[in-house]
Symmetry: C2
DNA sequence: GGTTGCCTTGACGTTGGTGGCAAGGTTTAG
DNA sequence: CTAAACCTTGCCACCAACGTCAAGGCAACC
């Protein structure tokens, strides 16, 4: 399979696939004329990459998962390095959830105060108009 | 007050203040030699900018708050445009919290499955070693 | 042999909020 | 007089994951 077909089957672009290759995530062999040739396993690798990217991982975080798949495992999750990344990412997400909750709280209060202030001003304006 | 003093008092850099000016958020007058001259009100404006940036706003979102302060209000929050931005941002944060919660859930499951798979494999390996 | 459609590499653009440097003018202190 | 400490404008670098364009090679079909 050449790059165009892989891109279509993986739901991405040829540019993206070449980028992943430049980042060492996929390593296709080349045909005599220099075209990239991919096998079915690479399709699964690209799917893994896309899935993890969608969750919010960076390409660096994804590298262990790809290595795990390429080592012959049925899932990219099961190798120690992958598990370590999963743990770290879970902790990061928990941390971010906390901070975002605090921001939500602050925004909520700020909004409530602003609205209260506006209604108060509005009432004063009306009473002056009476 | 000149740019260096304002930067120090606002806890930021001169580079940043010049950037805010290029974005139309602060408009200092100039002394005879071309130096930027800021008054105390600008310090409060910069504090407002920094506070909102810290919450995750972009400079575009902040513009109404600065205009509100500059219109003579004691708080940048109380003008209609500011309230609209606060509402929108609160909705965005709520939305992001939802998605991040879903991601957390998925990560948690993925991690649990990976660990279960590893323990299972480990048991099989041990039983073979017996 | 010309067109079409693949493929190649290379290089620049995007987004936001700065950091850093260059090359120069100003002011103040010693 | 000069050194230090300000200030000015302007431009490049950064991070990430690509998009987009350029200039060209290769393959297949009419």
């Amino acid at each position: 399979m050449r790059i165009g077909e892989l891109a279509e089957r993986a739901g991405t672009s040829t540019r993206t696939l070449r980028y992943y290759e430049s980042q060492g995530l996929v390593c296709p062999r080349r045909s005599a004329n220099g075209y990239r040739i991919y096998d079915e396993a690479e399709l699964r690798v690209v799917h893994e990459i896309r899935a993890l990217l969608a969750v919010g991982f960076g390409l660096d975080d994804i590298r262990p998962f790809v290595a795990c798949l390429r080592a012959g495992n049925s899932s990219g999750d099961v190798c120690p390095d992958s598990v370590a990344v999963l743990r770290r990412k879970l902790a990061e997400v928990d941390d971010y959830l906390d901070r975002l909750g605090a921001v939500r709280h602050q925004l909520h209060d700020q909004l409530a105060r602003a609205i209260a202030h506006r209604e108060e001003t509005c009432l004063r304006t009306r009473s002056r108009a009476d």
